[in-house]
């Protein structure tokens, strides 16, 4: 059974799916709401939809709780082996020493496969506090994801890519969340084959995922949903019903990300 037919029948997606962009824990920060707050609810949704594994930077990370977020991730990795992995969460608020401490502690920790910054919310990636972590990501060969919206931070992104010539960078939210920003990001992607975008959670982008893949390259998108802040079935559908060939769906759902993890000195996802 193909992917679209499986979804139409309400069955789990029959190919590997890795959600690279998740935040465990509910959020009521901006007037939003979710129907459950426990991680068990997320696991149930993963089972029902066919999501094999997720990479998380817990929701408290958004509020700047770096150490607590990574501790929570480590706990979830133990609790849900093979289903929950972590993006090492780095916040600048507690200073350079705190960043070094978490990077050194979790950089080689079981289940931590990549790194995540909430740039824009937490400032520019050019901040001094981030530099040690970016250097680590480059050296370790793991992907680093920036929260990203609009196009104002694009010059900073370009600087980071120039300063760290081996860094593999993912810009979240379709590289800017709205049409004009995504198109600008794609122009940079054409110049730099180390830059990727995730498919996560823009409610406003008028470019659909298939068009995005055709413009940016089908190897340059990775799947993300923002669960459990946002609804993963909506995000899965954006790919499955976009009209793209199943071959490309499989790349976006998991293959592109697994390729990004190849050669990384951090832990790896085992499907």
């Amino acid at each position: 059974m193909g992917i679209v037919e499986a979804i139409r029948q309400g069955k789990p997606i029959p190919v590997p799916v890795i959600d690279t962009h998740t935040h465990m824990g509910p959020s009521a920060t901006g007037g939003e709401h979710q129907a459950f707050e426990d991680v068990e609810g997320v696991i149930e949704l993963m089972d029902a939809t066919g999501i094999d594994a997720i990479c998380t930077a817990p929701m408290i990370f958004c509020k700047g709780y770096m150490e607590r977020a990574n501790e929570y991730s480590a706990q979830l990795i133990e609790q849900y082996p093979g289903r929950i992995y972590a993006n090492l969460a780095v916040c600048p608020h507690d200073g350079v020493d705190a960043v070094k401490r978490v990077v050194d502690k979790y950089g080689k920790h079981k289940g931590f496969v990549a790194m995540k910054f909430l740039t824009i919310y937490h400032g520019s990636p050019l901040r001094e506090e981030y530099q040690y972590a970016i250097a680590f990501a480059q050296e370790a060969g793991c992907p680093l994801t920036f929260h990203y919206w609009g196009d104002k931070m694009l010059p900073d992104v370009k600087q980071v890519l120039e300063k760290y010539p081996k860094l593999k960078l993912i810009l979240a939210h379709q590289g800017g969340g709205v049409r004009e920003a995504t198109l600008k990001t794609i122009e940079v992607m054409k110049q730099c084959d180390r830059l990727y975008i995730d498919t996560c959670g823009s409610l406003q982008n008028s470019i659909d995922i298939w068009e995005m893949a055709q413009l940016a390259g089908e190897d340059r998108l990775v799947y993300g949903s923002d669960i459990h802040y946002m609804e993963p079935r909506y995000e899965l559908g954006k790919i499955a019903f976009s009209g793209m060939p199943e071959r490309v769906m499989k790349k976006i759902y998991a293959e592109n990300y697994l390729r990004l993890l190849e050669g990384s000195q951090m832990d790896h996802i085992k499907l």
């Binding site: 709401h33 659909d208 946002m230």
Partner: protein, 254 residues
């Protein structure tokens, strides 16, 4: 499965710099997604109401029933762009659009009974599905959501269908579902994790209609409904049953 999408448009979307969405493009997108019929407005009518709605009727008539006309309306019923109230009732009865669409947030009019009562009285008499674009930002609250509870109570026969809601107005969504039975929601932006499952369980699938998000993109909504953790019969209601019921409820009269 027959699928009716209640949130489609043709024309130029002024919010973005890109070519006009043609009826052919909409039909092609529907074909890719497996959408059977689309309830569609012409963006021209956001500026030139009469001309845009007439154009919409022509597009719909040429579509072989795949595109259903949705008319833009404004409360400014002085007989120029919008007819006088009594003439509007006659016009709607004569032309029978599938729905009417209001966008007070973007068209900047106060959505209250002082300004809108004449328009809303016509819609209430006909019981015609009235699609309301939710809009973004503070306007969604100050212009629309704060007023809708009162309006829905005052004009209880209008089936209001909210589209383009945002993930930051979920409290309003929940309370309107709970307290205002004539308010419905399109699925396009229904994005808090698990919320559609929860709301279908608590308030019934009858309150939801299938709808695209921006740019007639139905893909996300299809995933949300097809993979919903509720019965297939509930999915059918969302995909087309509720729309059919609302259409049957219109009081066109003689």
């Amino acid at each position: 499965m027959r699928i009716v999408d209640v949130n489609c448009f043709v024309g130029i979307d002024l919010k973005e710099i890109r070519p006009e969405v043609t009826p052919e493009e909409l039909l092609a997108r529907m074909e890719v997604s497996g959408v059977t019929q689309s309830v569609t407005y012409y963006t021209l009518a956001e500026q030139q109401i009469r001309l845009g709605n007439e154009e919409m009727d022509r597009v719909a008539a040429a579509s072989g029933g795949k595109i259903l006309p949705c008319w833009i309306a404004s409360p400014y019923m002085d007989g120029v762009q919008m007819p006088l109230p009594e003439d509007y009732l006659k016009l709607l009865r004569e032309k029978r659009p599938a729905a009417v669409r209001l966008d007070p947030v973007n068209q900047l009019y106060p959505f209250d009974s002082f300004f809108c009562d004449e328009l809303l009285a016509v819609l209430d008499e006909l019981r015609i599905p009235t699609i309301v674009s939710h809009g973004k930002g503070k306007g969604a609250f100050t212009i629309l959501l704060q007023k809708l509870p009162e309006i829905a109570a005052q004009f209880p026969h209008i089936p209001f269908i909210l589209t383009n809601a945002s993930h930051a107005t979920e409290l309003a969504t929940y309370m309107l579902l709970k307290k205002r039975p004539s308010v419905y929601f399109a699925t396009g932006f229904f994005c808090g994790a698990g919320m559609l499952d929860q709301c279908v369980e608590r308030f019934g699938a009858e309150r939801f209609l299938f709808g695209s998000s921006v740019n007639n993109i139905a893909a996300g909504s299809l995933g949300l409904v097809y993979m919903g953790r509720f019965a297939d019969s509930e999915k059918e209601k969302i995909f087309h049953g509720n729309w059919d019921r609302l259409q049957e409820g219109i009081k066109w009269g003689s």
